[in-house]
């Protein structure tokens, strides 16, 4: 079943048009990766989908109902990881998780396999201000899942994570998508795109420059080197990838 559909989505920031005409369709149990150069509109697209920015034009269907004009509904229905720098240093992760999930127990339950992958139990009683950047990233990811939404948006979730945590989180996310989660995530690591996502979008100057279907990504997994080369060419705008 299709959970999230964006049609001709446009996002403005002030007077600037930052996302234009984006088409995206994500089904239950699918991970959709968004890649693109810095400033290509990835974060604006994800924030608009999650209700953190208004949608200027186009449609955003959640479970078949257009919510483009209803930011509150999008924010309620879609889990969102806040940027690590806005997590308040004076609070503990148990405080923000409990508020996001209704209670700490409910929040931890919603995390499923991520609870172990993010090592949340070791973080809940720490002041966020005393956490390293990687720990804050783990808390931010946990916050996105604490509310138990079945659509989650993550913006570059593997930043700051150590290799073990990145691996564990990737495996846990894969497991959760297989169990029905719809994940929309911005990524810079092409390897992560191949191993975490079922489809991909390449954004360039706010528009979709390339879509990568499930079949195309499956094919790319056989030759990640060639895939990487094609993507780099596409990101540079050198030539249309074969």
């Amino acid at each position: 079943m299709t959970k999230l559909v964006c049609e001709r989505l446009r996002v403005d920031r002030g007077a600037a048009l930052v996302v234009d005409g984006v088409e995206l369709e994500a089904c239950a149990g699918q991970g959709c990766g968004v890649i693109g150069a810095n400033g290509s509109g990835k974060t604006s697209l994800l924030r608009a989908i999650a209700g953190r920015l208004p949608i200027a034009a186009g449609r955003c269907l959640i479970h078949g109902v257009d919510k483009a004009d209803d930011r509150a509904s999008r924010a309620e229905r879609i889990g969102f990881a806040p940027p690590v720098e806005v997590l308040p240093g004076a609070l503990r992760s148990r405080d923000v998780l409990a508020l996001a999930g209704g209670s700490l127990d409910a929040a931890l339950e919603h995390l499923g396999p991520l609870r172990h992958a993010l090592a949340v139990d070791g973080l809940i009683d720490r002041d966020i201000g005393a956490c390293s950047a990687g720990m804050r990233q783990r808390i931010a990811i946990a916050c996105a899942f604490a509310g138990g939404q079945d659509i989650v948006v993550l913006d570059e979730p593997f930043n700051w994570l150590d290799p073990v945590a990145a691996y564990d989180v990737r495996i846990a996310l894969r497991r959760m998508t297989e169990e029905g989660l719809t994940l929309i995530t911005a990524l810079h690591d092409l390897g992560m795109l191949l191993t975490t996502c079922d489809q991909g979008l390449l954004l360039s100057a706010g528009s979709v420059a390339l879509t990568m279907s499930q079949a195309r990504l499956a094919e790319a997994r056989h030759d990640p080197g060639a895939f990487e080369q094609r993507m780099i060419h596409a990101l540079r705008g050198d030539a249309a990838p074969a």
């Binding site: 920031r13 002030g14 007077a15 924030r47 999650a50 209700g51 953190r52 920015l53 930011r71 509150a72 509904s73 924010a75 309620e76 969102f80 806040p82 940027p83 720098e85 806005v86 308040p88 240093g89 004076a90 609070l91 405080d95 923000v96 508020l99 996001a100 201000g129 005393a130 956490c131 390293s132 950047a133 990687g134 916050c143």
Partner: protein, 316 residues
């Protein structure tokens, strides 16, 4: 109570308890507050009703405006960056957030005014309502305007350019009446010094492990700018005019220093409150005996510097 209110109340409580972690800190603040209240009660007892009303009106307006701006910024933050966006994106949720905070502040203002001087209650409340109204109207205008992309650096360059322009324009060789105005560009230059400082950037300095000296060191170029302008004003108008401007400029720079140190410890809101408390305590010390003011200010700076120095190397 909706989630953003619960979150912010908890945050305010934790920031306050963190800022006053030691018994010494708490005792210092309690003594400072007692002294401030005692001074204000003493001043109110000998002041005219007009003076009390005017002061209460201005104070109420200042609090109302500051609180109104802060709440509007918090609503934007919750809606665009944070976890509980759904709560503030609904009209009822936003209203609860605003009304709850504004009502709590109103009750606090009435209580404080009642402790200091009963005649201050009505004008303080009136000023608060007016300040709040202006802040809310301002917030709507800002929300309707396109995003401002210029950073602090650009604002500082503009302000510095304007300040040197005014200095040159008011040189006595061109405009003999100018000396009275010669303090203004120096104050402008000091304000320009404050412009590029951003609480988030200062906090980031702490997170990535920069020392307090490196953060504060950015003031160096701007201080040199102020000194250079002061020399020009001394040459053009004599030392007395320059001294007024330079003194006010120095006070503003010192205030910036206190804020920067306090921001490193925990962000803009709590940082500004700590800096304000330090200035208020120094003012009270100065009211008791003028030589105590610089000593209190120096002690506050050293205390803040040490605290700020401890807040670093958070990346691991």
């Amino acid at each position: 109570m909706n989630r953003p209110i619960r979150h912010d109340v908890l945050l305010a409580w934790r920031e306050t308890t963190a800022a006053l972690a030691g018994w010494g800190d708490r005792a210092l603040v309690l003594i400072g507050m007692a002294l401030i209240v005692a001074s204000m009660r003493h001043a109110a007892a000998i002041a005219t009703t007009t003076a009390i009303a005017g002061t209460a009106l201005l104070a109420g307006a200042w609090i109302g405006f500051g609180l109104g701006r802060m709440i509007e910024q918090r609503i934007v933050f919750h809606a665009s960056d944070y976890l509980y966006a759904a709560d503030v994106l609904r009209r009822a949720g936003t209203r609860r957030y605003r009304d709850g905070t504004f009502l709590a502040a109103l009750v606090s203002i009435i209580a404080i005014a009642a402790v200091i001087e009963l005649r201050a209650i009505l004008p303080a409340v009136a000023g608060y309502v007016v300040g709040l109204g202006i802040a809310l109207a301002w917030g709507r205008r800002a929300a309707a305007a396109p995003e401002w992309s210029a950073g602090g650096g650009r604002r500082a360059r503009v302000a510095m350019g304007v300040s040197i322009g005014v200095v040159l324009a008011t040189l006595r060789w061109w405009w003999p009446m100018a000396p009275a105005w010669s303090a203004a560009p120096l104050i402008g230059a000091a304000i320009a010094i404050m412009a590029p400082y951003d609480a988030e950037a200062i906090r980031f300095d702490a997170v990535i492990g920069r020392t307090v000296g490196a953060t504060v060191g950015r003031l160096g170029a701007a201080v040199l700018w102020l000194v250079g302008l002061t020399v020009i004003v001394v040459i053009a108008h004599g030392p007395s005019a320059a001294m007024i401007g330079a003194a006010i400029g120095a006070v503003l720079i010192w205030l910036t220093l206190l804020r920067v140190l306090a921001w490193r410890m925990g962000g803009r809101r709590s940082g500004d409150l700590i800096a304000l408390a330090m200035v208020a305590m120094s003012a009270v010390a100065g009211a008791m005996a003028i030589p105590l003011a610089p000593i209190a200010l120096a002690a506050a700076t050293i205390w803040l510097w040490r605290r700020a120095q401890a807040a670093r190397w958070l990346i691991a």
